[in-house]
């Protein structure tokens, strides 16, 4: 394999966004016929790297070499023309159109007068679908397909060009076991044709099953490549997490208070089921699991954004029913949501107005908003959280991610909640702000808040939590105390690998 020319080679790729160095000199290569895993925690730079490879972002420096020639790709179309095909995690299909039209989107075969050559389109499509052994045909409407089959359509798209490299981004996230088998067959077929494959996944089981080598990213930096056959989970995990991991956080010095919130047998349709946990005042409960494991949905249910299909929520021992965020807020629950820009902030509003939004009706001077009181609240939390902004009049959209997140946290702290839920508190935030926010969460617990932290980042959840709930596929697999938890048993619990310790 070593004397071959790589199918795809990355050399010192750098990409910065305002305030964040997303990729910092990433170099590795993928051989023809190789399945190359790309691993790293959320925020490590995988998705930015994929967007660079897919032609959506252009690197600030470094180069991409396909075969023997360096390439510049200014659009997804150019990337495809150069032989790099990207199977998106978020599907990019036109749902009202047929399978065949989606596969040949932008390249429909033509007859004279701009007519579509339907017979040729159908024949070509069926030939490709035949290879994939799928249960639908060229004429099926994409919107009528299951998510798994829609993904097959995306894969079929990759087969229409002479692909040198195919990138799969978490392809099995929504597939059943039977569908996974088909996907792995397709990947085997591609590699047999000499295509280089980049396979992004968090699932160790799959990584060991189908990949040849593993490259690891951490904080935007390349951390090394391992031979799959010669490594183990432990080595991969330590590369992903690094030595910086500070598991020995200072022991809790404050006493825990009473139970602030207790959840019994909470279920919501197919999203999650039989959830039991409690959080005491002064305690941080971490929720860890893969994206889609149902963690965010639990938070949304507690906040009145979803109606549970079964189970109870008890606040200070009293059963409550919460039908809307307004009711949740009135009962002292606050949620710092996962999607900062979509759910947390009104980007076109200034900092002060965003921060006081949940309590604007209570800050009144006569019929008007008491702007002085608002400014006072803003100043208080700007100082407390060290929010860097020229002033409260600044539009929130102009702040960095870290400062935006602090505005959202300040917004909810200023409500003096009994229970504070924080969903992915440091997503898309630079390293410095991350540790500030981690310390803040610890401080809040020390001040007697009951805090729930949901995170996909293991160091984060290990660092801030007193106890950790491991979730897999809508269920709690195990609840760890800080003393019990290790990286290994946590990873095993959330990847559904081990039955050991699963919730009875």
């Amino acid at each position: 394999m070593t004397d071959q020319t790589p199918a795809l080679r990355l050399e010192g790729i750098v990409k910065t966004f305002p305030g964040v160095r997303a990729l910092d000199g990433v170099s590795f290569s993928v051989m023809p016929g190789e399945v190359h895993a790309l691993m790293g925690e959320n925020g490590a730079g995988k998705s930015t790297l994929m967007k660079v490879l897919g032609g959506i972002h252009q690197p600030d420096s470094g180069q991409i070499v396909v075969g023997e020639s360096p390439v510049v790709m200014r659009s997804p179309l150019e990337a495809k023309a150069k032989g790099i095909v990207f199977i998106h995690q978020e599907l990019s299909l036109a749902e009202e159109l047929s399978v065949a039209e989606n596969i040949y989107l932008g390249e429909l075969p033509r007859k004279r007068f701009g007519l579509v050559d339907w017979p040729r389109l159908e024949a070509q499509t069926n030939e490709i679908l035949g290879k994939l052994k799928v249960g639908f045909n060229a004429k099926t409407k994409v919107g009528d397909l299951s998510i798994a089959n829609q993904q097959m359509v995306e894969i079929a798209r990759a087969l229409t060009v002479d692909a040198k490299a195919v990138i799969f981004d978490e392809p099995t996230a929504s597939l059943t076991d039977a569908e996974k088998v088909v996907l792995f067959d397709v990947i085997a077929d591609l590699r047999a044709h000499g295509v280089g494959i980049i396979y992004i996944s968090h699932r160790m089981e799959e990584i060991f099953k189908i990949t040849d080598r593993i490259s690891v990213l951490r904080d935007g930096q390349y951390r090394g490549t391992l031979d799959t056959a010669a490594t183990d989970e432990e080595e991969i995990t330590s590369l992903m997490i690094g030595r910086k991991l500070d598991l020995t956080r200072s022991a809790r010095t404050h006493e825990l208070g009473g139970v602030a919130i207790e959840v019994r047998g909470l279920s919501c349709g197919g999203l999650f089921r039989d959830i039991d946990f409690e959080v005491r005042r002064g305690e941080v409960l971490g929720f860890y699991g893969l994206v889609g494991a149902g963690r965010t949905e639990i938070a949304e249910t507690l906040f009145g954004l979803r109606d549970p299909s079964a189970g109870q929520i008890l606040l200070d021992g009293e059963e409550v029913r919460i039908h809307s965020p307004a009711e949740a807020i009135a009962r002292g629950i606050s949620l710092v949501p996962e999607d900062r820009k979509g759910q947390g902030l009104v980007l076109g509003m200034n900092c002060r107005d965003n921060m006081t939004l949940p309590q604007v009706s209570d800050l009144k001077a006569g019929p008007f908003v008491a702007e002085g009181a608002e400014v006072a609240i803003f100043d208080q939390y700007r100082d407390r959280l060290d929010i860097r902004t020229p002033g409260w009049k600044q539009m929130v959209g102009n702040l960095s991610g870290g400062n935006q997140q602090k505005i959202v946290i300040g917004k909810w702290l200023s409500m003096h909640p009994n229970v504070l839920i924080v969903d992915e508190p440091t997503r898309g935030i630079d390293v410095g702000s991350k540790s500030e926010i981690h310390n803040l969460i610890r401080d809040l617990a020390a001040q007697g808040y009951a805090v729930i932290v949901i995170s996909s980042e293991m160091p984060e959840v290990l660092h801030v939590s007193d106890r950790i709930v491991a979730m897999y596929s809508g269920q709690i697999m195990r609840t760890f105390t800080a003393e019990e938890v290790t990286e290994d048993n946590l990873i095993q619990a959330i990847s559904g690998l081990s039955g050991e310790g699963a919730a009875a």
Partner: protein
Amino acid sequence: MSGVNKAQIGGFLARQGILVAFVVFMVGFTLANQRFLDPDNIMGVMRSSAILGVMALGVTFVVISGNLDLSVGSMMSFSTIVVLDLHDKLGPALAIPAMFAMTLCLGAFIGFLVGYLKLNSLIVTLGMLSAIHGLTLTYSGGQNMDIADKEGTWFSVFGQGEALGIPVPILIFVGLAALLGVTLGKTPFGRKVYAVGGNGTAATFSGIRRARVVFICYLMSSFCVATAGLIQASRSLGSQNTVGQGLELEVLAAIILGGASLLGGSGTIFKTVIGVLILGFIQNGLLLVGLQFYVQYVVTWVIIILAVWLDIAAKRGKLWSPIA
């Protein structure tokens, strides 16, 4: 010229474009006709803009909350016809509150559909445009509506009266603009309107009852429409069924000219008033220099597109769209 300078000039034009255009027009018209800046003339412009203006105030709330209201034109016809009809049946003192109640019911219905049932506001108000038009025609039997005794009623005060030398329609317009301007700019409700239009999901996540905010915006819109209908009826004391036809789009034009985004979350009452006055002054100025009223349409067309275009261009930093 370097790219930076171009961008800076573009940014300035975009921010101040409306004002610049306004000043150019005013200067041009004043040079062309001395009477243009005459106080009587300015008063005349404001009086003829009052009906459109009052309606635009209410629709501003709807637009900032991220919705549209295409039904205000036919709703205004409805109010006018109803109040004229009830004037003779109940007397003006009862007719006016009865008309307001009926118009507010229509607004509440729309607010319920768009706010609580979350139906698309464009289609709902398009449907209501048609439905209210039909309602008006059914109510009037397709006939024009006239007050029997046009001389002996105090009802004409809203459209024709004066106080302190200022026509009542102007007083109503200015008073309502001040009241609603303060409501939008200074009260918790106004803040919520901006939040709902700026990012409805984030507003919900902040505990704002989005449906209720939208509902109240439509109520306010219908209140303004009823007021406009009152002025219209009082001014003419008789009316056709189609008196408000097409006003819904002129109202939107004024709001867009003022610089509000149809996507919601931006705009102010003050800007809307500026937009209304620009439309009024253009029409008046063109008439004074001897051009017909319809030249105003063409000028408005050009100004609307230039205004929105420059606004977008400044935001994206490029004059031309990047669409392939």
